[in-house]
Symmetry: C2
Subunit: 600 residues, 2 copies
C-alpha cells in the first residue's frame, strides 16, 4: 500500500539520521526512549493515525452541530477520542507526575505529524487541551494543578483559551471582559468571547477555559490583563463536579474549512454567576498567556505542515498513477506518460517536497531544542537554546503556515480538475489550512514579532546564536564533496541575508521605522527560506556519504541531495531578490496614504 500522510522513510531519516534522537536515552530523563522504543512508538502512532483518525477527516468536513447552547461533534469522534486518550497520546512528552509519558518532545512531534495530517480539526481539540494543561502546570496554584491536571492530560476534561472578543482580536489589550473579586478570593467573570475553538463540545465531562479578563480598576491595555481559570462546571473541593458555571455557548461559526472543530461564541456570566480563580499574579495574565501562545504557535506551524505533507503524499501518489499526454521526449506513437514524468508536474512536486521536508526538519528541530533544554544542567546553555527557539517560533508559525497553504494549493493543482472536486482529499486540506495563517497571531503579527522583538532581543544574542547554528551546518556541508557546490551557493545567500538583517534591524530602530516594518513580512519570508535551505543542506550532507551503500536507500538519499539542490538553485535566487528589495527598503508602502488606495 502506498504511504499516507507522510513518507515514513523521511520521518525516520530526520529522527534518527539527522537528529539521532535515540541518543537522548543516554540521559536518565529519557532512558526509556532508545531507538527501538521510539520506532515502536512511531509504529503505533502511524497505526492509530491511519486506521482511526484518518477516517474522521472526510466526516469532519460535515461539521459540528449547535443546538440550544450545546455543541455536538461528529458522532464518530467519540470512540477515537477515547482510544487516543487511553493510549496516552495527549500527554506524550509531559511529566509522568501528572500522567504524562515523559518522552522526548521531538518524538511527540513526529507522532503528531501523523495525527494532525490525518485529521486536523479532530486534533485541534487535543492541541488546546494540552496547551491549557501546560499553562496550569507552569503557572497554576497547587490546588488548580491537583484539581485539573490529571483530568486534562488524560482527556477526561478538555481545555481552551479565551482571548478574542469582537473588538479585541490582534489587539488583545482592548478586551473588556471583567473580573470582580469576591470575598472568598475567587472572581466573578463577565463578558463575551468569540472564535473559541472547542469552546463547547460533547466529548468530555468538563471544559477548562483559561480566560483573559480585566480586574476592576486595573490599567488599560495589556498591562491590566489577568488570567483566570474558568471551568464550564465548577469543581468541588474533592475534585468532583459542581454546578454549571454559566459559560454559555451562544453559537458556532460557519467557516470555509476546519468544520470538524467548532468555533464557539461564549457568554460568561451573562445568565448567572461565572466564577474564576486567578492563575499567576494580578495584571500579569499576558506573560502566562504568551508562554501558552508560544507553544500554540509552534503547534499551528505543525498543523499547517501536517496538511502540507498529507497533500504532498496524495499528489505524489496521484501523479504516479495518472497518465496524460505523451512525454516531450518520447518516441512518436508512445502512449501517455504518468504525469509525474512531465517537467512542470515535477517542478510542482519538488516545490512541495522541498518545503515539506524542510518544514519537517525545522519543526522537529524545535522539539530537539526543547529536549536539549530538558537534559541540560547549564543555565547559560538552557537560555541559549530557549533563545533560538524563541527566534524560530514566528518562523515556524508564520512562514510554515504561509508555505503550507501554497503547498496545499499545489496539491490541488497536481490533481487538475479533480483537485477542485470534494470527492478527492486535496480540496479540504487546502480549505482547512487557510486558518493557520490567521489564528494564534496573524502571520503579519509573526513578522512584526520577528523583526521587532526577536531580531534585537538580548542585544541580538539569540539571533546570533541562530545564525551560528546555521554556520555550523554550512561548515560541515563544505566538507562533503557532493554538496560543496550548493553549500557555496547557500553561503553566499547566508552572508547576504545576515547583512540585510542588520540593515533592516538598524532601520527598525531609526526614523525609518515605518519603512522597515513595511518589510517585516518579506523579512519573515527570507528568514524562513534561509531556515528551509539550512535544513535541506543539513539533510543533504547527512545523505550524500550514504549514496551507494544500500541499494534500497539509494533513491531516497539521491532525492535528498537533489531536493536541497533544487531549493538552493531555484528558490534561493528568488529569495535573494527579495533581500535586495528589503535592503533597499523603498518607501512606497509607508508613503501610501489611506485615500491613495481608492475611492471611498
Amino acid at each position: 500500500m502506498a504511504q499516507l500522510i507522510a513518507d515514513k522513510r523521511d520521518v525516520d531519516f530526520v529522527l534518527h539520521e539527522q537528529f539521532s534522537i535515540g541518543d537522548f536515552s543516554e540521559y536518565e530523563k529519557f532512558s526509556d526512549y532508545n531507538k527501538k522504543t521510539i520506532d515502536m512508538i512511531m509504529k503505533e502512532a502511524v497505526n492509530l493515525a491511519v486506521k482511526e483518525i484518518l477516517p474522521l477527516q472526510k466526516i469532519s468536513d460535515e461539521g459540528c452541530v449547535f443546538d440550544a447552547g450545546k455543541v455536538s461533534v461528529p458522532k464518530e469522534y467519540h470512540k477515537v477520542y477515547k482510544n487516543y486518550c487511553e493510549g496516552g497520546w495527549l500527554a506524550m512528552y509531559d511529566d509522568p507526575e501528572w500522567g504524562g509519558q515523559g518522552m522526548p518532545k521531538t518524538v511527540s512531534l513526529a507522532a503528531n505529524e501523523y495525527f494532525y495530517g490525518a485529521c486536523n480539526s479532530f486534533m485541534l481539540f487535543h492541541m488546546l487541551s494540552h496547551g491549557a494543561a501546560k499553562l496550569i502546570e507552569n503557572y497554576g496554584t497547587e490546588d488548580q494543578k491537583n484539581k485539573c491536571l490529571k483530568n486534562m492530560y488524560s482527556g477526561k476534561w478538555s481545555g481552551t483559551m479565551l482571548l478574542t472578543e469582537p473588538e479585541a482580536g490582534s489587539d488583545v489589550g482592548a478586551l473588556t471582559t471583567s473580573a470582580v473579586k469576591n470575598p472568598d478570593g475567587t472572581y466573578s467573570i463577565k463578558g463575551q468571547k468569540i472564535f473559541i475553538s472547542g469552546g463547547e463540545q460533547d466529548m468530555v465531562e468538563n471544559i477548562i477555559h483559561p480566560t483573559l479578563a480585566r480586574i476592576e480598576g486595573a490599567p488599560e491595555g495589556t498591562r491590566g490583563i489577568s488570567l483566570f481559570l474558568v471551568p464550564k462546571f465548577r469543581i468541588n473541593d474533592d475534585g468532583s463536579l459542581g454546578e454549571f458555571n454559566n459559560v454559555e455557548c451562544t453559537g458556532i461559526e460557519h467557516k470555509m474549512g476546519l468544520h470538524g472543530n467548532c468555533t464557539c461564541s461564549l457568554d460568561l456570566g451573562g445568565k448567572g454567576e461565572c466564577i474564576g480563580t486567578l492563575i499567576g499574579e494580578e495584571n500579569k495574565g499576558m506573560a502566562a498567556m504568551f508562554q501558552m501562545m508560544n507553544e500554540a504557535r509552534q503547534m499551528v506551524g505543525l498543523q499547517g505542515f501536517a496538511n502540507a505533507t498529507a497533500s504532498y503524499i496524495y499528489a505524489m501518489n496521484y501523479a504516479r498513477e495518472r497518465r496524460q499526454t505523451k512525454h516531450m521526449t518520447a518516441a512518436p506513437g508512445s502512449g501517455p506518460a504518468f504525469i509525474i514524468e512531465h517537467p512542470d508536474v515535477k517542478r510542482q512536486l519538488l516545490f512541495m517536497k522541498s518545503h515539506v521536508e524542510g518544514m519537517r526538519s525545522l519543526i522537529y528541530y524545535g522539539g530537539l531544542l526543547y529536549d536539549k533544554m530538558a537534559v541540560s544542567d547549564n543555565a547559560d546553555e538552557k537560555a541559549a537554546l530557549s533563545g533560538i527557539l524563541e527566534v524560530l517560533t514566528p518562523i515556524i508559525k508564520g512562514y510554515i503556515t504561509d508555505r503550507a497553504f501554497e503547498v496545499c494549493s499545489y496539491g490541488v493543482q497536481v490533481y487538475g480538475g479533480y483537485g477542485f472536486i470534494e470527492e478527492y482529499p486535496v480540496a479540504q486540506l487546502l480549505r482547512d489550512t487557510r486558518i493557520f495563517q490567521i489564528y494564534e497571531g496573524t502571520n503579519g503579527i509573526q513578522s512584526i514579532d520577528l523583526l521587532g522583538r526577536k531580531l534585537g532581543m538580548k542585544k541580538g544574542k539569540p539571533f546570533m546564536d541562530f545564525l551560528n547554528e546555521i554556520q555550523k551546518t554550512l561548515s560541515e556541508a563544505m566538507k562533503v564533496n557532493e554538496v560543496k557546490e550548493i553549500a557555496a551557493d547557500f553561503s553566499a545567500y547566508f552572508e547576504k541575508y545576515a547583512k540585510t538583517a542588520k540593515i533592516l534591524g538598524e532601520k527598525a530602530g531609526s526614523d525609518d521605522v515605518l519603512k522597515a516594518f513595511s518589510f517585516s513580512h518579506p523579512f519573515l519570508e527570507t528568514t524562513g527560506d534561509l531556515s528551509m535551505a539550512w535544513m535541506l543542506l543539513w539533510r543533504a550532507s547527512v545523505a550524500a556519504p550514504k549514496v551507494g551503500q544500500k541499494k534500497k536507500d539509494d533513491n531516497f538519499y539521491k532525492g535528498q541531495i537533489n531536493t536541497a539542490r533544487y531549493f538552493i538553485k531555484t528558490i534561493l535566487p528568488v529569495s535573494s531578490g527579495k533581500l535586495d528589495a528589503i535592503a533597499q527598503t523603498d518607501g512606497s508602502i509607508a508613503d501610501m496614504e489611506d485615500a491613495m488606495f481608492g475611492s471611498k
Copy 2:
C-alpha cells in the same frame, strides 16, 4: 456608499485616460460609441451588477440541484438571467447582424469586470454561451448560424463546450467519444463527457453543445478529432424545437467553490440516438476549438481578475473601518488605529492593488488589440496585433489567475479571523477562484504554451512585437520626470528579462529541452511580472503630469505613481531573482526521478 466590486475611478482611468477608448468612435464601426455613450453604458452595467447580480453571489454558494437528469439553478437566477439577456449584455461586442450590440470589446470587458466580480458562477453560464455562439459564427455553416446564433446571443438558448472525458483532460487527444456518419450527412454521437459547466440547466429552452468526437476510422490523437454541433433538443428545419437529443446529465460535481454553476457529467447517445452536425471540416475540430478556447482563456483571466478586484475592494473597505491596536508611531495613550494605517496591512493592500490594477490594464489591453484589429484595414497590422494577443493569452489566463488566487488569499488575511467565516464575502471569493488556475488548460499548460509555442512562433516576431510595445511605454516614461527613476529600474529588469527569454528559448530548442521546460512556469511568472510592471508604469506616466491639476483627483494620481513604484521597487527585484534561476536552468527538477520523490 463605498465602492463595490471595482473602483469606478480606476476603471474610467484605464478606459479613457490610459487607452482613450472613446476615440474609436472616429471609426465608422464604432461611431455610436463615443466617451459619453461609453460612460452611460458603464453606468448601466454597474447598476445591473450591483443591484441585481451581486445579490446572487451568496445564494450561488448554496449550489445547483441535480435530480433525475435535471439540474435546477438557484431560483433567484431566473429573473436576473432574463434581465441580463434582455439588456443585450450577452452580446455586447458582437455583430448586430446576429443581435449583437457592436460595441468595442474593451468596453465589454470593463462591464464584464463588474458582472463577473458580482457573481462569477452566474456569469459562467453566459461566458460559455457566448463562446459557443462565437465558435458557430466563425466556423458554422449558414444553416447552423441561422438556426442558432440569434437564439444564443439573445440568451434564449445557452451553449457549452464538450471536451473533457475521464481519461482525456489536459490530454484532449485521448478522447474516445465517437461519431458515425449517417446517410443524411448528420452524425450519431456516443460517449461520456465530464466537467461540463452548465451542461444542463433550467434557465433556457435549448442547450447547444459544441462537442469534440472522433469519426470512425479517423487517426489517433488530436489529428483525428472533429467538432460537432450537438443540441439538447433537435432543431427542426423551421427552427422550432424537436425531440430530446439524448444528451443526458448523469450527475453534477461537489466542488470547493463556484457552486452556483453546475459542473455536469453528460452521457451522449447512451439511451437513444444523439445527432450532431459537423462544424468545419472533418478531423479539423481542434483548430476551431482552439479559437474558442483562446477567447475562453482570456475570459478565465477576467474571471480571476474580477474576483481579485472584488476581494481587494472588500478588504480595503474593511481596513478603513476596522480599528485594532495603536499605531506604531502614535503618541502614548492613543486609541486603536484603522488597520489600513498599519505597515504590514498597507503592504498587503498594496500587493492587492498593484496586481488588480495591472491586471485590469492588461485585460483591457487585450480588448484594445481586438478593437484595433476590428478597425484596421492593413493585413500586416492585423496579423501583428493578433500575434501580440496570442502572446498575451497564456499570461492573461495563467499568470493572472495565479496571482488572483494570491490576491483573494490576501483578502481573507486582511479580514483576520473574520476572513475565514463564510458570513463575510472574501472566503467564497477565494474558494471560487481556485478553479480558474485549472480549467481551460491548467496554468502549467499555459506556461508550456508560452515557452513552447508563443515565444518562438513566426520566427519570434509576435514575441518581439510584444517587447517592442513595452519598449514604447518605457521610452515615454523616461520623459516623465516623476517616473524617470522607476522607469530606469524597469528598464534594467526589461533588459535582463529579454536576455533570459532568449537563453531559455534556445535551451528549449536544444538537448536541454527538459531542463528548459522545468522552468516554463517561472518563465510565465516573470513574463507576467514584466507585463504588470509595464502596465503600471504606463499608468504612472499618464497620471504623473496630472498631479496638482484637480484637488479631488490628486490622491488617485499619486496612488498611481506610488503603486507603480511599489511594484517596480519591491516585486520586480524578486522577479529578477527568478530570472537568475531561469538563466541558470539548473537540472535538479529534470533530474528528479519518480523513485526519488518518496517511498511507494
